[in-house]
Every structure is written in structure tokens, then in C-alpha cells.
Subunit: 185 residues, 2 copies
Amino acid sequence: MSRQMVRPGGRGARVQASVHTAVHELLAENGRETLTVPQIARRAGVTPSTIYRRWGDLQALLSDVAVERLRPDTTPDDHGSLADDLTTWAEHFLDEMSSPTGRAYIRDALLGDPDGGNAGQCSAYAAEQIDTILTRATRRGEKTPDTETVIDHLVAPLIYRILFRPDGLDTTHTHQLVATTLDHT
Amino acid sequence: MSRQMVRPGGRGARVQASVHTAVHELLAENGRETLTVPQIARRAGVTPSTIYRRWGDLQALLSDVAVERLRPDTTPDDHGSLADDLTTWAEHFLDEMSSPTGRAYIRDALLGDPDGGNAGQCSAYAAEQIDTILTRATRRGEKTPDTETVIDHLVAPLIYRILFRPDGLDTTHTHQLVATTLDHT
DNA sequence: ACCTTAAAGCACATTCATTGCGTCTGGTGG
DNA sequence: CCACCAGACGCAATGAATGTGCTTTAAGGT
């Protein structure tokens, strides 16, 4: 139930919004350990039952919030060359995702529905961004790799390190990944 | 607290074993949704307080069990060539990890301690296996990529697809990844 | 303005998480 | 060989969270 069919502007929309912001605030304040449904309900000015009815359980709600917060809010900047665009995007991506908050949201998104519903959405967001960059490069006349190639050799390694080896993250590595990715054209 | 210092053969060891198998069985039977500490305790013939004392909370316990079950039980087979070894290992890896059970264990491992304690352990397991294969190939006189390269361009894409895009998994793709990885020598 | 219907509130029963305290196991030193 | 001691376990109790029937509210259409 991540994609809510709420009458826009109605009471449901207000509740959804206040619950989402309540989750976000409480996560920032106390972390996830002590986060409970009644707590969220109190902060949002709602009763717990409302949350249980709309989202089912805490995990689904967290996953829902996570996906919304992981949605990119802007299209990638245009720096005039594919290499620059990819590098800048990758650095920005790493910045956002490798923070404790970012990692937490990714993990929450992974818990949502067992097959890649919410996680798949996140992946789709990244794919869209990449696609924009690649399309722009193609229009410029540059030779470009496939979106899939970029995902395999740039996005995947970044995410892998973020999730499994938070220590091994540095800018040099990112640049190297961009370079090898561009070899696959 | 994943690495328990239990007196071997004593009561503590029995408790640890029965709790671990209880978790494994209950996960297989009812999935993770309905899994609770008292439930595990009942199945294991233990009281909940024991579990709380030893593991702290459900997540830590799940993470502990996950890491133990994700530990490879055998060294990679030797097929006489790096390409064959890597391909076979990748297919085996994919088989184990892409099952619903495997995915669930990976996600549990990711939840353990916030910085990559348990997840890092899993990554280290994979690195060990890869390292064995690469060392063998070097000893044969083959030209081999770095372990890091294999992780970035083979392991990471596999895991990424397993976690974020369970649909996009096929053998062809795996072979392709092995091929491009071997280009990076 | 009314009517319909989906969503939110309320109250309550059930189950879970968590801790204090006494008991027992099993390794250790005399 | 035996008594001792530290840590681990079981029991029981409490406070909180989960989840559900029933009632009430308000959004959107007629």
C-alpha cells in the first residue's frame, strides 16, 4: 500500500502529510530504535489505529516514507560533458546516500514489500536520473554506455560500499568507477 | 554482540544452538512478519529474558543468525581457469542469495549494528572466496584483476539486482558481468 | 443543502518488550 | 576431590504496543 489513492487536499492528505513529517522528525531526533507507532501518532496528532489501518505496520510506513525521501528533487545539472555530468551526479548521490540518515532510509526501503516494490522504485529513480544524463550526452553527439551498464558499474558498486562497507568510501574510488564505466561504450 | 564468548559445550552453547535453530525454523515457517521474541523463546525451550540478556533485541539476534547462515560452508571449486571459477562461483552465489530466504538473511544482516559490523562480515566472506579464486589463478600464471575490482564489477552488480530489482536476474547477465570483470586485468 | 461512503477516532482485549530477583550451572583454585 | 564464585538462566510482574469492532466525522457528488 505505498501508492496511496488519497483524495487530494482532503483530510486524508493532511493526515498522510503530518504522519510522514512526524516519522521524519522522530527519526532525526531519536533514531529508529525507540520509534513506535503510538509515538508517531501522538506527534502527528492522529490516533494509532489510523496508522495501522492505512499502512498496516510500522515497517510499511517507514518504507513508504523512505521512498518518498529518496526521490530525487531535481534533475541532474548539465555540465557540458558526459564525464562531468556522471561524476557530479555520482558524488551527489554518494553524499546523500552515505549519510547515516541516507543509509537508514535505504534499509527501510528494502524492508517494505518483499519483492522489489519500494526498493524497485528507488532503483527506478536512479535509472531515470542516469537516463536523463545519457540522453543529453547522446543529443550532444557523445558516445554513451547503456543505462544498464551505468547501473551495474557505477550505481551498484556505490550502493554496495554504502551498505556493506561504509569505511571504504572515497572520492578517488568514485572517479575511478566513472572512468571504467565510460570505457564500456 | 554477535561473537559470543560462550563456554563451549556448556548450557550456554546449548541455548545458543536451540535459539538459532528456532529462529531459522520459524523464519522458514511463518516468515519474518509474525516473528517475535516470546515465540522464539517458546520454540527454543527458553525464556524471553534469556534472549534479551544475550542478544539485546530481536534485530541483533536476527542479524547474528543471518551472518552465521550466510557464511560459505565450502571453498570454491577449482575448474582449471579463472573464467570458469568465477562464473561457477557467481552462479552459485546468485543461487544462494537470490532465493527469498537468502534475500531475507541479507536484509537482516544489514540491520544488525549500524556501521557495517555484520554486513561487513558478509562482504568479507565474499572477499575471501574471491581471493581464493584469484590467488589460485595467479599461481597458475593467469593474469588476474584485483579483488576490489571483482567486488565492484561482479559482486556489487549481483547484490544490487538481488536487493533492488529481483526481476532482472538471468544467467546471461551474470556471464556478461564475469566477462567485463576479466577485461579489467 | 442532503446523502453516500471512505476514512478517522475511540475503547478495549491481546500480546509483546523489558527488568528485578532468586536459582542453577560449570569452570577454577585450594 | 570439593567448595567457591561469576556468569547465565528461569520466573514473574509491569508498562507499553499492537491490532480490532463499533461509532463518528467530513469529503465529493447529486
